[in-house]
Amino acid sequence: GAGVSQTPSNKVTEKGKYVELRCDPISGHTALYWYRQSLGQGPEFLIYFQGTGAADDSGLPNDRFFAVRPEGSVSTLKIQRTERGDSAVYLCASSLLAGASDTQYFGPGTRLTVL
């Protein structure tokens, strides 16, 4: 079956603009995770959803970042008033359930560049 997909694959925007990044998880997966990966670093946890609700958003760096998953499937990561420091690859992952015993399947990521 299809894996996790993310759109767009690349996004270039200007400082101060608003962006939305989309994640389509594997069908039937209830848990969905967002990470940010800066150049030369490992992924950094941002937020995860169990169903429609954000179970843990402790990794969101500030209130410019927000994510939703209204129907428990597709998720959108929203960044307001983008800054150059937001430039990174944003990764999405999904798993059947939430827990260390459930394998997370990652999408290819969205590369965000803020000019």
């Binding site: 030369g40 402790s58 990652f106």
Partner: protein
């Protein structure tokens, strides 16, 4: 706070040679430990994971890792490297009690010479 150290930024090996990638973690109790691989243009893929029990864990693609509590290490090994193994490798630790909020190391880039 938990942390993961991958001391080698780059590792170069010849095809057919053995491989060991180092990973050290900082956490009071026994954490959940993971190794992921990231190939260019592809998503992160889980190689193997350790929760408890046998400290030698077998994974996909011929990889294995050994948990050593006394050294706080979880090193990844492969007896014979293939050119297709060239990629970025990430060690991760989850000490959040099973809700799987992993902390990743900065990664080790594996270069394979023919």
């Amino acid at each position: 706070a938990q942390s993961v150290t991958q001391p080698d930024i780059h590792i170069t090996v010849s095809e057919g040679a053995s491989l060991e990638l180092r990973c050290n973690y900082s956490y009071g109790a026994t954490p959940y430990l993971f190794w992921y691989v990231q190939s260019p243009g592809q998503g992160l893929q889980l190689l193997l994971k350790y929760f408890s029990g046998d400290t030698l864990v077998q994974g996909i693609k011929g990889f294995e890792a050994e948990f050593k509590r006394s050294q706080s290490s979880f090193n990844l090994r492969k007896p014979s490297v293939h050119w297709s193994d060239a990629a970025e490798y990430f060690c991760a630790v989850d000490s959040s009690g099973g809700s799987y909020i992993p902390t990743f190391g900065r990664g080790t880039s594996l270069i394979v010479h023919p």
